[in-house]
């Protein structure tokens, strides 16, 4: 027997490609542009969002029948902020080094529109298990794009991956740099991420014309 029913499996699969939060729904763009200059930051952000979205979706889903619709956005905001603060405080007490690394991401997580978007669009209308899967699926879809963008920006902008030089030493002119190759400083700044995301969207849509909206 399959671990997940087909319907449930689609909750994970869909956001990876045909319903990707970044390239199709255009959510979470701000963090995708800001923090993808390095692969490491991309991965940390993706994992953090997965944690908060998975857990937050479950909490919202459990509360979905008692949340007054008039103040539901505020309730969602409080849930996500509380979760993030709890995690932050616990890490500060028991894993201080890790909390320092993650501190800069806290603000970006709370304001990530994917999180509020999934609360609003999915968790408010579905059960906890399916909401959890939806959260994991969407954060994976988000994470994949972040990692792809981070990969190209770090490789072309700094010649490194996860901080490890892969193209040689740009100052000593070894490896690829001996042929006259130079790092592209433009890739480090956020507009480069916009272009990389644009190229991903282009590639994705030309591979699957069903995604292209008719005018």
């Amino acid at each position: 027997m399959a671990l997940l029913s087909k319907k449930d499996a689609n909750l994970i699969k869909d956001p990876l490609a045909d319903n990707n939060p970044i390239t199709i729904q255009v959510l979470g763009i701000c963090s995708a542009l800001a923090i993808t200059a390095e692969l490491k930051a991309s991965v940390v952000m993706a994992v953090s969002v997965m944690f908060v979205l998975g857990l937050g979706n479950v909490v919202i889903s459990l509360m979905r029948n008692i949340i007054p619709s008039k103040i539901r956005i505020i309730v969602q905001l409080i849930v996500v902020a509380t979760l993030v603060i709890i995690v932050d405080q616990v890490l500060k007490a028991f894993a201080y080094e890790l909390s320092k690394t993650l501190a800069v991401f806290v603000g970006l997580i709370i304001t990530n529109c994917i999180i509020m978007g999934r609360f609003e669009a999915f968790a408010l209308g579905n059960g906890p298990w399916r909401s959890f899967l939806d959260g994991i699926g969407n954060s994976l879809g988000y994470g994949i794009i972040l990692v792809i963008v981070g990969f190209f920006r770090e490789l072309l902008g700094s010649g490194t991956l996860f901080g490890i030089p892969v193209l040689g030493d740009p100052i000593e002119k070894t490896g690829l740099y001996s042929t006259g190759y130079e790092n592209n400083g433009f890739m480090i700044i956020p507009p480069a991420a916009l272009i990389v995301v644009g190229i991903i969207i282009w590639v994705q849509r030309s591979g699957n014309p069903a995604l292209v909206e008719e005018n």
């Binding site: 800001a34 923090i35 993808t36 200059a37 390095e38 930051a41 940390v44 952000m45 029948n65 008692i66 949340i67 007054p68 619709s69 008039k70 103040i71 505020i74 309730v75 409080i78 509380t82 603060i85 709890i86 405080q89 616990v90 500060k92 007490a93 028991f94 201080y96 320092k100 501190a103 800069v104 991401f105 603000g107 901080g163 100052i171 400083g185 480090i188 700044i189 956020p190």
Partner: protein
């Protein structure tokens, strides 16, 4: 559904209950963990001060490794021989000077009042270090750090940290390739206490020129870099009178 969630009364009660529940959870957590958190922060300050004066566990040229937390208090009392607080012309010793909040002292200084300025005198391998705490503003939030000088006003080491600079860009001020550049730079420009500028396009990416009061900036992090320059300048300015008394060249 049995409950009518659209009613105003329900909405108000829900909001009230939620505030109380969330508030108590957070308050309970904060008071329960504050002991450990404060201890961690205290250790961090000691680690940072020691790091700036070169007492750290750095192995290769990429990583930033502090003295481990279980020995940091011993090492701190071993290496830091004196902690002083400078208040105007008055200089007093204070064993807890490292806990003084620079943010508050700088605010006092800006208001024209006399701040209490902590300074740590350390000794390592027979050499004397003067470690000064720094505090400033980056792009998004506070940045801070420590700068270790010798009696010739040459930087022996720095440590920078930040609260919320952009990951991958401004956040890299706490990386080795940025911090290590400061070592060997003089904060003096002739007889002027000039500080050190984080400069774009100074044509010296390897930082061979240690006399120019400049280090190479981080690409894509202009405002954070300017914040670092301003922070160093402001600190040097505040401590100038004391530095004059220890300077030997």
């Amino acid at each position: 559904m049995a409950i009518n969630t659209d009613k105003n009364v329900y909405t108000v009660i829900f909001a009230g209950v939620m505030v109380i529940v969330v508030g108590s959870i957070l308050a309970f957590l904060a008071s329960g963990l504050s002991g450990r958190i404060n201890e961690n922060m205290r250790f961090e300050k000691q680690q940072n001060i020691l790091y700036a004066m070169g007492v750290n566990e750095n192995e290769d040229k990429g990583s930033v490794n502090f003295v481990p937390t279980d020995v940091v208090e011993d090492e701190f009392s071993q290496y830091i021989t004196e902690q002083i607080v400078i208040k105007g012309d008055e200089i007093v010793e204070n064993k807890e000077a490292y806990l003084i909040d620079m943010k508050k002292q700088l605010a006092l200084a800006k208001k024209g009042e006399t701040p209490e300025l902590p300074l740590f005198i350390g000794e390592k391998d027979g050499k004397k270090f003067y470690v000064i705490p720094m505090y400033g503003k980056g792009l998004w939030d506070d940045i801070r750090g420590y700068i270790a000088l010798d009696d010739k006003m040459i930087v022996q080491g720095v440590f920078f940290d930040h609260k919320g600079e952009t990951p991958g860009l401004g956040a890299n001020i706490n990386q080795r390739y940025f911090m290590d550049d400061f070592s060997g730079e003089s904060i003096m420009d002739g007889t002027r206490y000039a500080g050190i500028n984080v400069a774009k396009g100074n044509n010296d990416p390897l930082n061979n020129d240690k006399e120019d009061n400049e280090v190479d900036a981080l690409a894509g992090a202009t405002i954070t870099g300017n914040g670092v320059s301003a922070m160093i300048k402001e600190t040097v300015n505040l401590y100038k009178d004391y530095l004059k008394t220890i300077r030997t060249n």
